[in-house]
């Protein structure tokens, strides 16, 4: 007897697409849980998600996985193909929810008789529509910030009479908050409202009662079909109202509510979820509380699983997404067991006997010019979570989990000035916490800081406590066990202790600590504050008394995760870590995961055999290793306790950076040795590997002064790629074209000195850039995939689109690439994964860079070639050979470079966060800026590319006006694709210079005014005016030289972002886009599942195996129009 609904046999899950700011890999976590539950329930599950880097798009998680754009059009095609009984859209973030609403509005759900489960359309609307939601609050008698929409000054004054001051003014439909602000009295209101009305294109301003500076709380609530409701977690924001909760430091459970206030909040939350009509599943409800009076107002609710629910799940051990899925299938909370205790039901509210702190991770250094002030518009790219037995321990663990230079709270450097620090403490920004601590050290009292910042005095006092503990530590006559314990109890790291003491190193502190027996214990996240025994080994460290690690007797492998998502290190690395857990568990090991990112699948307690939610620092990892060694098979002195080794290759730069120090501390590192990793990164040593193998790298040199840099540049020849070894002001690499720009770069972006040399590389023109992921076992090479980049010169590989199979490489090229890759693998001493970046220029193959570790492209390659590359890598690292894995069936005969000719073309496209950073130029460069990626799959390149664009940015236009304006060096490459667009019926708009070139080549175009020309005598619009007027459908604008606000191109690209118009910044992308547009005009584009694509590849492999024929090689004579492609040396990892 199953209590679940028997009328649902097949479900389509909508995913959340690429990682963007505000919607990160938490939805991979929730989606993966949903798919697992649905599969366990015996349902036929299909999925649509365009993001190949996710675990959820692994083909084994669904019967049919559609890596297709998440748009109503494509999802309708999937529904038509799959004919599911139900659609589940509440686990795929806002993207999935919006798509579900669109499908409903278009009548698609009705047409195919598909039921939306989880939340109804009415509930979604009631939760999401501000006016409807206010109606909900009115019905249940819940308070909210009152507001009024005004169109005149008099209306505003009248509204103020009802609402009272201060007021927030929000002009409608302005970007970047133009015209908004606070009015504290009528005079201010009168002057500001006029400006606000003028700033609004519709002459409307929302006048709202201000809750800025109030305390902010969230409740994660679940409801089942019998109307049983529970609060899974309460969360309190350390940052008061005014900062997006995703950008706030948050704490669970709530710290500063009495039971009376908390229960009122809980009652309101339940009333909201009931009135909104979320019949089953999870919701998140946000509140603001006036610290002076306790008045509570409801801010908003999300009728779906959210970022906060992922955090709440990890914080409590209560798996919200999994349970939401079961509730959607008709189970009730009491019918679902609590996984952690196994004997109690899920119909309860978790009780925490620890404190959880989440801190967002920002990437402002990647976006010079972006405003670092935090507002209600989310700007962070990732987050960390830490657990401790008290707030101070959790906070300091979280801060060091950020892995951001200078983030750790500093109690050692000289005390600064109040005048410097207080303004920084007042302004919400990415380093506000640190500024508050420094302001406190400079002498500002808790009370003054509370009134200046709005941060609750309790939190501020905890920071004061840290200061006192640090002072005691500094003043202790000697660093003894008591002094160490006192500091450790409040989360001070060995690094901090060393800095505070001043006369010892981090390693000294650790050795002393170990000698004195001052070690952390590991506690368990058990949902119930120890009331019941936990069956799930989900641990965190604390300097407390009793350790809870139980012994085991299987050999153990510790896998280090990738830490917080940031630009350059995202879900792709979590994917590889998770695969290692699966593969090594299956191979008979106990897998032990260490990570601090709450958004991930790797930090799900049932991904690994044991989970340690810990910072990825040397100190914290060593303690985990020690705990595992203690609890192992024999566990005696000098015994490894069954710990076979630590995997550092799969989690990106974070674990890689720890490898050598772990090894030096006696920890076995499996796979490629740390020395080999270092060898690949060290130019001189790597140069010798290349020389020995007869391979070439682009000419390069290291300059220790400006003159040296010029000399090297002259020797190599411009353009050159320059990058600092020491970064100032967050600037990284740039391509420079002459002495002047080189000088400017060095002036502006870095300092050059013998201590801080600058690297100067030849910049290869007209080169094809190629990315390779391969596996090497010491003897044999398995070429996982060869990817050909679409973008031009100097674009970071993480930001460029690429195609697999490679579109224009011939058999000979692939053969040379294979040989070169194998030579490098052998020379470096790789055991496991290797990523190599090549440039093919003329007939020369240049090696740009080799990284002996999992790369960002591993999941894409795995999905494009139907090979579990990360799993195989994990096995190879622990000693399996490629031959063994072929014999097991994990690896196929042949490899990823021997795909059949009828294999689908897979295009990976990067997704960039421009819209989040108003005013930042949208030009791609050597510095990686993308947050995520999508994959377009189809039989032909044009269609695959078109799909990738649609998934990333929106559909390519098939008609209308295209504006072209390119740098001189791109003009030759512009003619052919532009002519094709004109032939297809596009009207071509061009600035005068470009128009002239086009006219000479027989391409008709309309001349438009540059921005710098200004409007014409009769008000003729500039191109920027036209873009804003919606008169341009496609923009092609390639930059020259330095980007910046003074240039026309900048204004054009910025306008494109504001208006959401596709803007191609390379001629190669234009070439690909033309193919895409042709494909779109060519007729109906279909959808197919990954399983269908893989069947083609597998069938071909099978027939080759049977016939023993030579494997096919990808086509050598593709006709893609493309210009130069070239290389970049990457500083921040692939």
């Amino acid at each position: 007897m199953s209590p679940r609904r028997s009328d649902i046999n097949s479900v389509l899950v909508i995913g959340s697409g690429p990682i963007v700011i505000g919607q990160a890999c938490e939805f991979d976590y929730s989606g993966t849980q949903a798919l697992r539950v649905l599969r366990e329930e015996g349902l036929r599950v299909s999925l649509v998600n365009s993001n190949p880097a996710t675990i959820m798009t692994d083909p084994e998680f669904a019967a049919a996985t559609y890596v297709e754009p998440i748009t109503p059009e494509y999802v309708e095609k999937v529904i038509a193909a799959e004919r599911p009984d139900a659609v589940l859209a509440t686990l795929g973030g806002q993207t999935a929810l919006n798509t579900a609403v669109a499908l409903h509005d278009r009548g698609v759900l009705d047409k195919y008789g598909v039921e939306l489960i989880g939340a109804s359309i009415e509930a979604i609307r009631a939760g999401e529509d501000r006016e409807k939601f206010k109606g909900v609050c009115d019905v249940i008698g819940a308070d909210y910030a009152r507001s009024s929409l005004v169109r005149t000054v008099d209306e505003a004054v009248a509204a103020a009479g009802e609402l009272g001051y201060p007021l927030v003014l929000r002009p409608s439909f302005t970007l970047g908050g133009a015209g908004s602000g606070f009015a504290h009295d009528e005079t201010q209101l009168r002057s500001m409202i006029a400006a606000g009305l003028a700033a609004s294109p519709v002459h409307e301003v929302l006048v709202e009662e201000s809750v800025l500076g109030w305390k902010e709380f969230e409740l994660e609530v679940m409801r089942d079909k019998h109307d049983n409701c529970v609060v899974v977690c309460s969360i309190e924001n350390l940052d008061p109202m005014g900062v997006h909760t995703g950008d706030s430091i948050t704490v669970a459970p709530a710290m500063t509510l009495t039971d009376r206030e908390y229960q009122v909040m809980r009652d309101t939350a339940f009333a909201v979820i009931r009135q909104v009509g979320v019949e089953t599943g999870g919701s998140n409800i946000q509140f603001a509380v006036d610290p002076a009076t306790g008045r509570q107002v409801v801010i908003e609710m999300n009728p779906r699983v959210s970022r906060s629910s992922a955090l709440a799940s990890k914080a409590t051990g209560f798996p919200i997404a999994k349970i939401a899925t079961k509730l959607a299938l008709g189970y009730t909370l009491d019918e679902i067991p609590n996984d952690i205790t196994r004997e109690t039901p899920a119909s309860f509210e978790p009780s925490l006997d620890y404190v959880v702190v989440k801190i967002p991770r920002f990437a402002f250094e990647k976006f010079p010019g972006a405003d670092t002030t935090l507002t209600t518009h989310m700007k962070s790219v990732g987050e960390v979570m830490a657990l401790g037995r008290n707030f101070t321990e959790a906070l300091q663990k979280a801060v060091r989990s950020l892995e951001a230079k200078g983030a750790e709270l500093d109690f050692a450097s000289p005390v600064g000035e109040v005048a410097d620090w207080l303004p920084k403490a007042k302004r919400p920004h990415d380093r506000r916490l640190q500024a508050v601590v420094q302001a406190m050290r400079a002498g500002v009292s808790v009370a003054d800081l509370a009134s200046e910042t709005g941060i609750d005095p309790w939190f501020l006092d905890q920071l004061a406590l840290l200061g006192e503990v640090a002072a005691e530590l500094a003043g202790a006559p000697q660093l003894d066990a008591d002094a160490l314990r006192a500091a450790k109890r409040h989360g001070f790291s060995d690094v901090q202790i060393a800095a505070i003491r001043g006369d010892v190193s981090e390693d000294d502190v650790r050795r002393l600590r170990h000698a004195l027996g001052v070690r952390p214990v590991f506690k368990t996240v058990d949902t119930c504050a120890a009331e019941f025994a936990a069956r799930t080994p989900y641990h965190y460290s604390s300097y407390d008394e009793e350790d809870e690690i139980t012994t085991g007797d299987r050999p153990k492998v510790i896998i280090l995760g990738s830490g917080p998502n940031r630009i350059g290190q995202g879900v792709e690395f979590d994917y590889s870590c998770v695969h290692a857990c699966y593969a090594l568990h299956d191979a008979g090991y106990d897998t032990v995961m260490v990570n601090c990112n709450p958004e991930t699948v790797s930090t799900d307690y049932d991904t690994s055999d044991r989970l340690y939610f810990e910072p990825l620092t040397c100190e914290d990892v060593l303690e985990v290793v020690a705990a595992e060694q203690r609890s192992g098979r024999a566990g005696g002195q000098g015994d490894s306790g069954g710990v076979v080794g630590v995997v550092v290759q799969l989690g990106g730069q974070t674990p890689l950076g720890l490898a050598q120090r772990l090894k030096d501390a006696g920890v076995p590192i499996v796979g490629t040795a740390p020395e080999a990793i270092h060898l690949a990164e060290e130019r001189g040593a790597f140069g010798r590997v290349l020389a020995k193998a007869g391979l070439q790298a682009p000419k390069h040199g290291t300059a220790r002064s400006y003159d040296e840099a010029v000399a090297i540049a002259h020797e190599i020849g411009y353009p050159v790629l320059v990058r600092p070894s020491y970064v100032l002001g967050g600037r990284g690499m740039e391509i420079v074209y002459d002495d002047e720009t080189l000088h400017d770069y060095i002036d502006r972006a870095t300092e050059v000195s013998p201590e801080h040399p600058v690297l100067v590389d030849r910049f290869l023109d007209d080169a094809i850039e190629v990315d390779v992921d391969a596996l090497f076992d010491g003897e044999e090479l398995f070429l996982g995939g060869v990817m050909e980049h679409i973008e031009e010169a100097g674009i970071h590989s993480g930001d460029s689109a690429c195609a697999l199979p490679p579109m224009t490489l011939g058999r000979a090229d692939v053969r040379r690439i294979r040989e070169a890759t194998e030579a490098i693998a052998r020379g470096v001493g790789v055991r496991g994964l290797l990523n190599v970046q090549f440039a093919v220029a003329g007939d020369v193959l240049y090696v740009l860079e080799a990284n002996p570790r999992a790369s960002r492209t591993v999941p894409f390659v795995a999905k494009a070639t139907a090979v579990p590359l990360a799993k195989a890598a994990a096995r190879v690292m622990l000693g399996a050979t490629i031959a063994d894995l072929r014999a097991e069936g994990m690896l196929p005969a042949g490899d990823g470079a021997t795909l059949p000719l009828d294999a689908a073309i897979c295009v990976k496209e990067a997704v960039l966060p421009w819209s989040r950073f108003a005013g930042v130029d949208t030009v791609l460069g050597p510095e990686m800026k993308s947050t995520g990626e999508v994959m377009g799959v189809d039989a032909g390149f044009g269609t695959a590319f078109a799909k990738s664009q649609e998934a990333a940015y929106g559909a390519l236009p098939t008609k209308g006006r295209v504006f072209v304006s390119v740098a001189n060096r791109d003009k030759r490459h512009l003619i052919f694709p532009t002519k094709r667009l004109a032939d297809l019926g596009f009207e071509v708009l061009a600035t005068e210079g470009t128009a002239e070139v086009l006219r000479r080549n027989g391409v008709p175009s309309t001349v438009v005014r540059k921005l710098s020309d200004g409007r014409g005598p009769d008000g003729e619009p500039t191109i920027v005016d036209k873009i804003h007027a919606g008169e341009v459908e496609l923009i092609v604008n390639t930059p020259f030289g330095n980007s910046g606000p003074r240039l026309d191109g900048y204004e054009i690209r910025t306008a494109a972002v504001m208006r959401g118009i596709p803007c191609l910044t390379t001629v190669q992308a234009l070439g690909a886009a033309v193919q895409g547009i042709e494909a779109l005009r060519g007729g109906e584009i279909g959808v197919a599942s990954l399983q269908q694509h893989h069947a083609v590849i597998t069938a071909a492999r099978e027939s080759e195996r049977l016939s023993g024929e030579n494997p096919a090689v990808p086509g050598a004579d593709s006709t893609i129009a493309r210009g130069g492609a070239t290389q970049v040396q990457e500083g921040d990892g692939n």
């Binding site: 009495t258 504050a529 120890a530 009331e531 009793e546």
Partner: protein, 368 residues
């Protein structure tokens, strides 16, 4: 820093920390509560009389002490164990710090110990006697005093916490009913809920007989929560028998155990009890689940698989705890009486079960 303090359990397990609240020495039954909010209500709940309460939630005292939230006239716990006491209270209703309040009321506490280790110990070994001292560091001597202190089984404590004199809580708004509430350790939220529904509540001492109760001419009789072993509550049980079938009856917690005994069921001591605000209780008639506030170390032993027949007619177990299947409510089918083991008055805890007060009102209305 405050004085060092030690905590010694009767089985010898020892924890070392720092004094919190009053400096001194105290003995009682060690129990843990898992509520993350509501320490002020917990401390002033008379059911905690003679118990040393361990808070599993590490940060205690953050919102200070106010004058609105106490559930009785004083702090009743006899010892308090926390990990990280607040240094600065922060709440607009706060009047003073918890530390000062405990010191004023002479409550000996200890802070800074591994409360989770202590909780796990109590979970595995059961609630047991404990001593907390900030006046000695001699563990063995303290252990001897712990072993000499009385246990909870067989303790008759209602008389120690009850009101000495009857008093009346007036109805809010129009008076609709008169209730006699036998104070076995009543929390002030209970009369407040009843008063809000138009009941005039006559709170009577625990020693009240059925005659005393009926003397106020009530529309219904309420038996409150309270501390100690229900097996000792012969007086209240006799009073309960005297009013069953005469007036509608509602009991909470100890009152549930008194009803159970009056009906002829036994009571027994749970290994470590239910103390917290997150317990799932199912109403067996509707299947609905309430997340409820609990504070009980004893439970009623009644059959859960069938109706029982008693001197007062048929009785069913109306509510069960879903975590461990413990009886959480009784309902008489032939006389107007029902009771629950948990706390619909919450304080601290969720308001999910406040409807039970309305049920009592309805029962009284039906039997007037």
């Amino acid at each position: 820093m405050t004085e060092p303090a030690i905590l010694v359990l009767e089985d010898g397990r020892t924890f070392r920390g720092r004094a919190y609240g009053a400096v001194g020495e105290t003995f009682g039954e060690a129990v843990f509560t898992t509520g993350m909010t509501g320490y002020q209500e917990t401390l002033t709940d008379p059911s905690f009389h003679r118990q040393v309460v361990v808070q599993t939630s590490p940060h205690i005292g953050n919102t200070g002490v106010n004058d609105d939230d106490p559930e009785s006239r004083q702090v009743w716990v006899c010892g308090y164990v926390v990990r990280d006491p607040a240094r600065v209270p922060s709440n607009w209703r706060s009047r003073r710090s918890l530390d000062a309040e405990l010191a004023d009321q002479g409550i000996v506490g200890i802070s800074g110990i591994d409360t989770r280790a202590l909780t796990r110990h109590l979970r595995e070994r059961g609630a047991m006697r404990v001593g907390v001292s900030s006046t000695t560091t001699d563990v063995d001597a303290l252990l001897q005093r712990v072993l000499a202190s009385p246990g909870m089984a067989g303790a008759d404590l209602a008389n120690e916490v009850t009101t000495r004199q009857p008093y009346v809580v007036p109805a809010l708004g129009e008076k609709r009913f008169t209730i006699a509430a036998v104070d076995l350790g009543i929390k002030s939220s209970t009369p407040r809920y009843l008063a809000e529904q138009g009941c005039e509540v006559h709170v009577l001492p625990a020693t009240s007989t059925d005659a005393d109760i009926l003397a106020v001419d009530p529309d219904g009789v309420f038996f409150s929560n309270g501390p100690g072993d229900p097996a000792t509550a012969d007086g209240p049980v006799a009073a309960m028998r005297g009013v069953l079938g005469v007036k509608p009856v509602f009991g909470i917690c100890f009152g549930n155990q008194v009803l159970g005994r009056a009906l002829g069921f036994g009571t027994y001591k749970l290994k470590f009890g239910h103390r917290g605000v997150n317990q799932p209780v199912q109403d067996r008639a509707t299947g609905k689940i309430a997340i409820t506030s609990h504070n009980h170390g004893f439970a009623v032993d009644a059959p859960t698989d069938r109706e029982a027949t008693t001197d007062h007619g048929r009785v069913v177990v109306s509510h069960l705890d879903l975590n461990d299947g413990v009886v959480e409510g009784l309902r008489c089918l032939d006389v107007p009486a029902f009771s629950v083991q948990y706390h619909p008055e919450a304080a601290p805890g969720p308001h999910d079960a406040t409807g039970l007060f309305t049920s009592f009102i309805e029962l009284m209305a039906a039997h007037r």
